[in-house]
């Protein structure tokens, strides 16, 4: 930032400094509304079922019902669903990082026949809503015998047009000089990519990783379609299919849903700037 901009900002600060209190009121109230469902979820997860269903809300349950959390593991296949979610997310994220950086680099920096056409075909997927390929993906996964398996949930999400686009843009924005020097020194294209270019693309790789983790962890429709048994589902599908189930107490449901969101929420709070900037720069979920 230029020094003139800084002085301008300072001036603006002193100019408006006195009127900040109402901004804090607006943002404080707004922020409270945004965060309230999470707070309420925590409170309900520690209440009794009767307290959750009382007409006057119980804002503080008094005795905290920690056993609701233990109940989650007894009443629901939570652990196996958590395992599925973790596996699916880790496999997809690693696969996308490998495949999208390789392809993105080739599309950005290498010369080969049909490059422009192939790139256009890959990017055209971004214009098509996912419902269009869902039925056929289901048929393909069924054909491979992957219904109700981890492979089936994972498969289509290993490949990403968006990730390829993201990584291509990243490599296009890197200076070509380093790469040329490496090639002059006799490095083959893979060595150039691996030793020189990949480390430089790290910020974009972290954006790719963050968006893939978020999307994969929260995704509902695809896992819902390819898995029928509760134990095989990832957490999102497992929770969504519980929605109409009246045999599970609300506090247990709240504890389960809180624990299901927790890994991603913790990741977000720890890496807040990276996540926010990454998602903003990607512009897509």
């Amino acid at each position: 930032m230029t020094s003139s901009a800084i002085t301008a900002r300072r001036r603006a600060r002193s100019r408006r400094g006195g009127s900040h209190w109402w901004i804090h009121v607006v943002l404080g109230v707004g922020g409270f509304v945004m965060a309230f469902p999470f707070l309420w979820q925590i409170i309900m997860s520690l209440s009794t079922n009767a307290q959750v269903q009382s007409v006057t809300p119980t804002f503080w349950p008094g005795e905290l019902q920690w056993q609701n959390y233990a109940q989650v593991f007894e009443r629901l296949p939570f652990l196996s669903q958590l395992g599925t979610s973790v596996m699916v997310t880790v496999i997809r994220t690693l696969a996308q990082i490998v495949l999208c950086t390789l392809a993105g680099y080739a599309f950005a920096r290498m010369r080969f026949r049909g490059r422009a056409v192939l790139l256009a075909i890959v990017l055209s997927i971004l214009l098509v809503p996912s419902q269009v390929y869902l039925i056929s993906q289901y048929q393909i996964v069924q054909g491979f015998g992957w219904l109700d398996t981890l492979m089936g949930i994972v498969a289509p999400g290993l490949f990403s047009a968006f990730g390829t686009f993201l990584m291509r843009t990243a490599f296009l924005n890197l200076p070509p000089e380093l790469e040329e020097a490496a090639r002059m020194d006799g490095a083959n294209p893979f060595q150039t990519f691996w030793r020189i270019m990949l480390p430089l693309a790290r910020p974009s790789i972290s954006v790719l990783a963050i968006t893939t983790v978020l999307w994969s962890w929260n995704e509902l429709l695809w896992p819902l379609v390819v898995s029928t048994r509760a134990e095989d589902m990832p957490l999102a599908a497992g929770l969504a299919t519980l929605s109409g189930d009246r045999t599970i107490d609300y506090p247990v449901l709240m504890a389960a849903s809180l624990m299901a969101m927790a890994p991603v929420l913790i990741m977000f709070v720890v890496l807040q700037r990276r996540v926010i900037d990454g998602l903003a720069s990607s512009g897509l979920k």
Binding site: V122, L127, V132, Y133, L134, I135, L221, L239, I276, A280
Partner: protein, 329 residues
């Protein structure tokens, strides 16, 4: 410095997006003609294929081929035991005479409009959040962004209880003002409004962040000049902020519309798939899901998918048309 790193990746979004659809960007390749470039061209050989083939095989199998296949499926009828037979435009004829299509389309449009109403709110909140020298700004940013990263299927369960007609906190809150709240989840119209409000809640933070990045690009000198001319804060907002922010606003409108048109997760998880209000409340994607995977009528569902595709295309094109009238270059 923190401000600098923060703005770098976000700053050029509105400029970057159109490039995505362009026929390949023109980065370094343009600078051809140097000897090294020519050398590179000769040496690449089979290497590029090793780099792109793994992705191309996967994308071809799981995306390109399915798109072609779905288009074909939309002209077929599926027997009970599988096996598709060509039936011409029968699915489309049935679709246009199915009242459920129009109900789902209407619901999707209502949902989209309500979620879009959050954008003016997001512009206002983002401009407050980007007040120079505001303390706790990052804390507020995290609070507003939290709903966007939360798993829809999980947070929907919380909203489902909050919207409960008898003991939900929403109706308790309305009761404080003497309003007798409805049975949100089990009354058709209100169920859609409830889902829409949750949709607004979960997308607000994302819009604010994109708009915030746009706000940082407005030179502070413009505000100072406006102030010297005696413009009030509101006047500055209307005459400086909104026009200069219009490319970002347009981008947020496009992204929000496209994602709202694909409403599924929240609706499914808040209302539950067996809720009797579903036929009156379902979205287009829910209609697609229930035809394809509950009724197992995959040819018909393929036709619905094609209709969703075309509708999103039309809405996006129209928005790009209208954009010329209000977005400042």
């Amino acid at each position: 410095m923190t401000i600098h790193t923060e703005r770098h990746p976000t700053a050029d979004i509105p400029a970057r997006t159109p490039r995505a659809s362009g026929p390949g960007a023109h980065g370094p390749e343009r600078r051809t003609g140097t000897p090294t470039r020519a050398g590179l061209r000769r040496t690449d050989g089979y290497w590029p294929w090793l780099f792109v083939l793994p992705l191309l095989i996967g994308v071809g199998t799981f995306y390109i081929w399915p798109i072609i296949q779905t288009f074909w499926y939309s002209f077929t009828t599926w027997g009970v035991f599988g096996g598709a037979t060509f039936s011409g435009v029968a699915n489309y004829v049935r679709l246009v005479s199915d009242p459920q299509l129009y109900q789902s389309l209407l619901n999707t449009v209502v949902y989209t409009v309500i979620v879009l109403l959050g954008i003016p709110l997001a512009v206002w909140l983002a401009s407050l959040l980007n007040t120079p020298g505001l303390r706790f700004a990052q804390f507020y940013r995290v609070l507003f962004f939290l709903p966007y990263v939360a798993m829809p299927a999980a947070i929907a369960l919380v909203w489902r209880i909050m919207f409960n007609g008898d003991y939900g906190i929403v109706n308790w809150f309305l009761g404080r003002f003497g309003i007798d709240g409805p049975y949100w989840i089990s009354t058709p119209g209100f169920a859609l409004v409830a889902v829409s409000l949750v949709g607004l809640w979960s997308s607000l933070g994302f819009s604010m962040i994109i708009l915030g990045a746009g706000l940082k690009d407005i030179p502070p000198e413009l505000y100072e000049a406006a102030e010297l001319d005696g413009a009030s804060r509101w006047r500055q907002f209307r005459s400086v902020t909104v026009p200069l922010l219009s490319p970002s606003i347009f981008f947020v409108v496009i992204v929000t519309t496209i994602s709202s048109f694909q409403l599924f997760d929240l609706l499914y998880a808040i209302l539950g798939s067996t809720n009797p209000v579903i036929p009156k409340t379902m979205s287009l994607v829910f209609y697609f899901y229930s035809a394809g995977f509950i009724d197992n009528d995959k040819g018909f569902a393929a036709a619905i998918a094609m209709v969703i595709f075309v509708l999103i295309g039309i809405v996006t094109l129209v928005q790009f048309r209208i954009q010329r009238k209000w977005v400042q270059a």
